[in-house]
Symmetry: C2
Subunit: 401 residues, 2 copies
Amino acid sequence: MRPFQSTISLASAQDIIAAAAEPLARTETVSLGDARGRVLARDVMAPADVPPFARAAMDGYAVRAADTAGATRDAPARLRCVEQIYTGQMPVHAVAPGLCSEVATGAPMPEGADAVVMVEETAAEADAIRMFATAAVGQNIGRQGQDIRQGQLVLSAGTVLTASRVGAIAALGHARVEVYARPRVAILSTGNEVVEPGAPLAPGQIYDINSYTLAAVVAEHGGVPVIHRTAVDTIEDLSRAVDESLAEDVLVFSGGSSVGTRDLVLDVVRAKGEVLFHGIAVKPGKPTAFGRIAGKLAFGMPGYPTSCLTNAYVLLVPVLRRLGRLPAQSIRIERLPLGARVMSTPNRHQFYTVRVEHGQAMPAFKASGDITSMSQADGYIEIDADTTVVEAGTVVDVKFF
Amino acid sequence: MRPFQSTISLASAQDIIAAAAEPLARTETVSLGDARGRVLARDVMAPADVPPFARAAMDGYAVRAADTAGATRDAPARLRCVEQIYTGQMPVHAVAPGLCSEVATGAPMPEGADAVVMVEETAAEADAIRMFATAAVGQNIGRQGQDIRQGQLVLSAGTVLTASRVGAIAALGHARVEVYARPRVAILSTGNEVVEPGAPLAPGQIYDINSYTLAAVVAEHGGVPVIHRTAVDTIEDLSRAVDESLAEDVLVFSGGSSVGTRDLVLDVVRAKGEVLFHGIAVKPGKPTAFGRIAGKLAFGMPGYPTSCLTNAYVLLVPVLRRLGRLPAQSIRIERLPLGARVMSTPNRHQFYTVRVEHGQAMPAFKASGDITSMSQADGYIEIDADTTVVEAGTVVDVKFF
């Protein structure tokens, strides 16, 4: 067995990881229906004006504003309607003095007209339309290019595509858009004892949890999880698993990063690349390794489900978002009183799961191995390495999952 | 043309919609890899203990605690090691007095042993292992069933599946899980002038924006968007579109809900079902209709992209989350000073888009038709119906998209 020589601080670990992670330059083209949440790879310029023509912004009548001068409800202007213009239809007649055209919202403006009087301010008579208000030039007209001008920069490379931004690209007529690739993450659960859910358990075996929690975190933060078959604890099988995974951007092992003689992940990373750190002064999650193999990032996460998942949130999520060019995660934080005293291991930065009950943060931590301590928690508090006890009643920052 | 008879308040509209929307009872079974974000349809009970056997919680030696009584670094206990027990492997030997077995984290405990001494507190000699500390009974052992007891309720129906909860289901050995169905939303963009992005524009035509913004919002909030071909403005085509969409849970029209003579969506909803309201005192988004057809919810959204999208956020998102049994949306709010005076239309509850610049909320609104006013905004402020002006410097709640 190989005891830890030393551990590094959480902040140092985060710095080392951040320095090793370069945003991906790879791009791909996706259809607009798949563009939500993706990151633009190129500036999007407008190939034409939007709208491409002047159009009515209200249902009503296209008029020459001068023809309505002084019109009121008591002294309406009377104009003869020469045409009904619907959307998707080009006007046939120009609006000469004394005339008007009925227009639907979105219909192209007829020549000669310079304003639209909304239908609520008009009344139709047998041979004329009465206008009850004086129109201003330009009123209720959507000018050509009002929304977007031809040649204009509409969205910059690096922008995350929200609903409205997908809409802006649609407005330009693009059916597809070039976006940065999502980081692909090989998930390698290791351990002779680990069995895929759905299969029967032999004595001494347990079900694979980490592949599923890691995949969920990866997908949640813009990555593509690639679940690899479980590797057994031999150098040969782990080496093969690494070779099969080097097409991905990140390799995440779970299990096999502690100090047991069969904890071979570290040996494989060292043999095929370099180990940048091993052991972090955090709890849970101390036996965590990080390195590089052939330019790809490699994490050795602890096998304990909660340690693995905590590390995924704290160490992997920032990397995923950095590789994928997403903004840092926005975590919901609430300041709440702690409902019970919590003890913390000295010299370890602790992540401590809590449940919110009656406006208090109640300890939900059981043991590093216990997935239920996270599945029943609402979030966690952080206790720094210098603190060994947090008394009940202390106001803490609860960070929600 | 048919002017609005009256409008209802935003709150009334929201109440009417909420009363009409029943959470879906339909369920489906998904694989664990697809379970993230889904809502459990049945309680999940534990079919067996987790872990299914007592195991070592540390790398070290399984001992009888009594054999280490009084052991210190200066006066270590000496025990003979009879076996190396790896994970996934059942012990062959019991630990009798004076003996120990080397155990890896996660390996099954051998009979007779009642504690694990961590490797850091031991040293291997030629014929014995020195133990430098006194072990307490149960120390560094994960008891059988410590995480989850057979028969225990692990997750309740209605729970949203986060990473850790997916992990808890994996721990039980379930490869699939029954979840509530996601609401299916037929998206029907209407209008003779509306053309799909990628196709050329004829004079008087514009590109479809709303199908894409609506689909993005639906997917973002747990729904399944089903984009229907664009319907032209005839009763026949709209009726056919409705008939083709009644397999879905919600029908969302965009366009055709204003007061133009060709705004036929309302006629079709009325003919095939019932209109529950038409016209809301909001801006943008006044010409909005809501009704029911054959038990399905039908929205008539304005054709203007920003009106349509604002309504999608304000009216459709709560419905989607209610149908899909997701908790209400958690909106990030920041209190910031308004960077410029904003005028608001009297008697209309206004949603006003803003950009955050230098710690101020700067107006980003251009016109209801302008998709760029939302795509370049960070969020919005709400101005209630009684307020007509908000002065620069006023501290406002910015709600982020």
